[in-house]
Symmetry: C2
Subunit: 219 residues, 2 copies
């Protein structure tokens, strides 16, 4: 969808002018919207009019090759900011994975804040920088790790944000596969194998408990 056209009169806008905290100490006026699973939040090539933050639910950013092959750039969980780009148009599309509430801040508001306030500018740079660091880790994963190492690294990364030892997976096997550069069958097989090895347990398909995190470690 294209937000500009959906904005006026949409019943899905939860509120307007609410302060949104994009980073610690960086609050800007914005509003929030609700999205259903698989609903597009913004599309590739659309203008970068907004910056987004996940309030609840989960979001994926995706990129497609002309023949349909898909790469998921990242998953965003509550508190994460996404869609911050310097160019005029998005290079990824973003979709809700689960029912999600997403906060939107106008890019123009952001730019004015960065103009006025050096500290705000630095915080925005930090957001981009952090995304870059994540991607650098991911590049090593995709370039040089095997299937078990990829899935293991993915689980460990998820575990790091969730405080408890139980990981709730909002995304499907196919989403994980398209994020890790594998097929959904390989992801499923790898998880089954890890469960057989007692490295994890799988109380249900979307729930993982780490039993032996060390066994998932690669480098």
């Amino acid at each position: 969808m294209y937000v500009e056209s959906a904005m006026s009169g949409s019943s899905r806008m939860a509120s307007v002018g609410k302060p949104i905290e994009l980073a610690p100490g960086l609050e800007l006026p914005g509003f929030s919207m609700a999205f259903d699973p698989n609903e597009e939040i913004f599309g590739e090539e659309e203008p970068t009019d907004f910056v987004y933050k996940v309030i609840s639910g989960a979001v994926r950013t995706t990129r497609l090759l002309s023949d349909g092959r898909r790469q998921i750039g990242a998953f965003y969980m509550p508190g994460d900011v996404f869609g911050l780009e310097r160019g005029e148009t998005h290079r990824f599309s973003a979709e809700a994975i689960a029912p999600s509430e997403v906060a939107l801040v106008r890019r123009s508001a952001l730019e004015r804040a960065a103009e006025r306030d050096g500290a705000a500018a630095r915080k925005l740079w930090a957001l981009t920088s952090h995304e870059l660091e994540d991607l650098q880790d991911h590049m090593l994963l995709m370039g040089r790790k095997n299937a078990a190492e990829r899935v293991g690294s993915f689980l460990l990364k998820l575990a790091r944000r969730g405080a408890s030892g139980v990981i709730e997976l909002p995304m499907s096997r196919g989403d994980i596969a398209d994020h890790l550069g594998l097929t959904l069958e390989t992801v499923s097989r790898t998880l089954s194998q890890m469960a057989r090895d007692q490295s994890i347990s799988l109380p249900s398909a979307r729930r993982v408990v780490l039993r032996n995190p060390g066994a998932l470690l690669a480098a």
Copy 2:
């Protein structure tokens, strides 16, 4: 090597206090150094005291897994800035590929400039942002493209910067492989195949001429 310790009295410092143009309209005082092929410019975990710019030659940034598997993050050609990170220590090491001259600018000088001048801060953000975009393309390449598509994309990207149709490769097959997530044998075989198909010609191992760029295109 660790520059701080090598700086005083080094005969390799070509000059001091020279103005270095990190981005169009962003000049900062710095100095330049010469590096031999395979010589380390900075190491993983070293403090991020400098930002670097290739004057001549070529540079690679690399990351290692504990068992020696290597991922090359990017190749930097004359005019490119590298080593700009927000954290206190580098997440990659950098080595010269060919005999190279590299300009160094103190990070502290950079930070003072960004503090004073909003435009300078924005240019630094743009550098990080551009690196992020490159990496996003690379992620799609590594996650979803086959060997021929990876090598093809790599050649097309190199061709885009060199104005002429002839590409000079400063890096080895092994370097290309570690950048694309392949083995050096696969890179070599793929290039040979492309030459057989008349998509390229290989006047020498380190020189590629694009004969049919369209055939290299993937998506």
